[in-house]
């Protein structure tokens, strides 16, 4: 027995395994509507959408036991690039595919499944409840560095930003900074970390999705508009984004059925609201990829 053939066998075995993995995550096998729904759906991406997608997914598979549905995180960037590569059936994203460099948005189909509102949050010590939009911008661009300049305590402002490329950060910067560059500061990679750090660090400011508000930190009103679901629905509160589920081309089979389920009254009127998101059906305005808002 020579070494060469052994090695060749090993390589063959590994490549077989790899091919197997590649197949396992590929998209759905469609079947006639008369038969019971079956196939494999993989949704990967945004961690902001992940809890909703996972809960809706388990409700969906409870009804369609032959569908094998997996929901994973990984970040909006991962979701978009994986669905573009055809490695997963659904790419979850907090931002429009058009906003992400390196993604060919015309190859992807957008399915908006929920809306998330975000607001600046500050440590309770700072004594801030309301800010002007211009002041928020000046804080995040480093022009204002002490809370007393905006009517708070004499305390240094500690900016906690989200990681570059994060969907939440992109939404916040589009709505608040409008093209200006944020000052270099601390960066955290999740809502959870931001929540913990802002509530324990004196003088800290960051921004969070509404569902992460707690009584240990202060959500800030902007121009006397409070960050509530109702204000998002009318676009009085400007900082919000859609949660997208992208598919490559038109969805088929189990994937299409799952997306339909996500958009159904069942999910939108109960699950979406229970988990702190805003239903897509309640929105009185529409925002496009360029950020232009129109009344419905």
């Amino acid at each position: 027995m020579n070494k060469g053939s052994k090695l060749a066998m090993g390589i063959a075995a590994i490549s077989l395994l790899l091919v197997g993995c590649g197949k396992a995550t590929s998209s759905t096998s469609s079947k006639g509507s008369s038969e019971a729904l079956s196939g494999k759906v993989t949704a990967v991406g945004s961690t902001a959408l992940q809890p909703l997608a996972a809960k809706a997914g388990s409700n969906f598979t409870a009804k369609n036991s032959k569908v094998n549905l997996t929901v994973q995180g990984g970040g909006s960037g991962t979701g978009l690039s994986q669905v573009q590569a055809g490695a997963v059936s659904i790419g979850d994203s907090d931002i429009f595919a058009e906003e992400k460099a390196g993604i060919k948005a015309d190859k992807l189909t957008d399915h908006k499944v929920a809306v998330v509102g975000m607001a600046p949050v500050v440590n309770k010590d700072a004594g801030i409840k309301n800010l002007k939009m211009a002041q928020v911008k000046q804080i995040f661009t480093g022009k204002i560095t002490n809370w007393k300049e905006v009517g708070g305590k004499d305390q240094k402002i500690v900016i906690i930003n989200r990681a570059q490329g994060s969907g939440t950060r992109a939404t916040f910067e589009n709505a608040v900074l409008k093209g200006a560059t944020a000052v270099k500061s601390q960066e955290q990679d999740s809502n959870g970390a931001v929540q913990k750090i802002v509530s324990t660090t004196p003088g800290a400011i960051s921004y969070l999705a509404f569902s992460y508000f707690t009584n240990k930190l202060q959500a800030v009103s902007i121009d006397n508009v409070t960050p509530t679901d109702n204000n998002v629905q009318t676009n009085k509160w400007k900082i919000w984004s859609y949660e997208h589920m992208y598919t490559k081309g038109k969805p088929t089979g189990a994937t299409a059925a799952f997306l339909k389920f996500m958009n159904s009254k069942d999910v939108q009127n109960s699950l979406v609201k229970d988990m702190g998101y805003i239903s897509i059906h309640d929105m009185k305005v529409t925002k496009d990829a360029k950020g232009v808002v129109t009344q419905n």
Partner: protein, 317 residues
Amino acid sequence: MEQTNFQLKKQDAQSDEWEAQLHHATKATREDWIGRGISYFCIGIIILVVASMLWFITSKGIATFTQNHVSLWKFLSGTNWAPDQGQTGALPMILGSFAVTFAAAIVATPFAVGTAIFMTEISPNKGRKFLQPVIELLVGIPSVVYGFIGLAVIVPFMRHLVGGSGFGIISATFVLFVMVLPTITSMTVDSLRAVPRFYKEASLALGATRWQTVSRVILRSATSGILTAIIFGMARAFGEALAVQMVIGNAAIMPKNLISPASTLTSQLTTGIGDTIDGTLPNNALWSLALILLLMSLVFNALVRIIAKRGQLKHER
């Protein structure tokens, strides 16, 4: 005649059988072959995995320079890290990584060597019964737990002690100090135990005190082993991602002092990789950071080998 013929035939048959036995593999030989085959197979796979990982990281890591045409010097010396806007100055992270690594090694080494001397020279029994399990326990704690303790205890403590937000190189140093301490200690213990017994006996016989023996004979002859231990500790500190990321603050700015937020190569990698798209500059730039990490661990390995070799030469002389 017939009988002898028969005997001859019998002998022939016997020798045929022997010949057959000699020319064919026995069970033991076959087992040998199988064992060797399995070993080669495993080694082959491991070599394949290592080689493909090296190739993968290298090819992805140099894409920043070949596809995006960022100059290597600008990448290594630039101080503005904003890959989304095309700025890929990695110096803040490189400095951050080295700062926490060296600071942690400097803080940990005296404690590690002291503990090791206690365990080998001063109280070997207590060392074996009590300290050994404690150190092994420290090794086994997952890094996320260290990070969590750092976030919940060290960061607030630093905030009260020195002000600021509490996130920064100093907090990372203290977390890493606890993480590299067991590595350096246990390897130092090994190298102190490897010092020949007669060195110590000769020193004591010449009238040296215990302190003189420890400091001038035992530590001196274990120097190369201790240096190896420190470098292994530094390699661990350099590559640690999660715990550091939780306490250093991840601000991609040049570290001005020990108490302001900074970032390391690993902390940028873990925070950034999920939000970048394959084949774009932000993604390639992160791979380049990974390549730097890989090269640095090769350097650490090379250092260990060089030191070990020089230590050997000394003993032979």
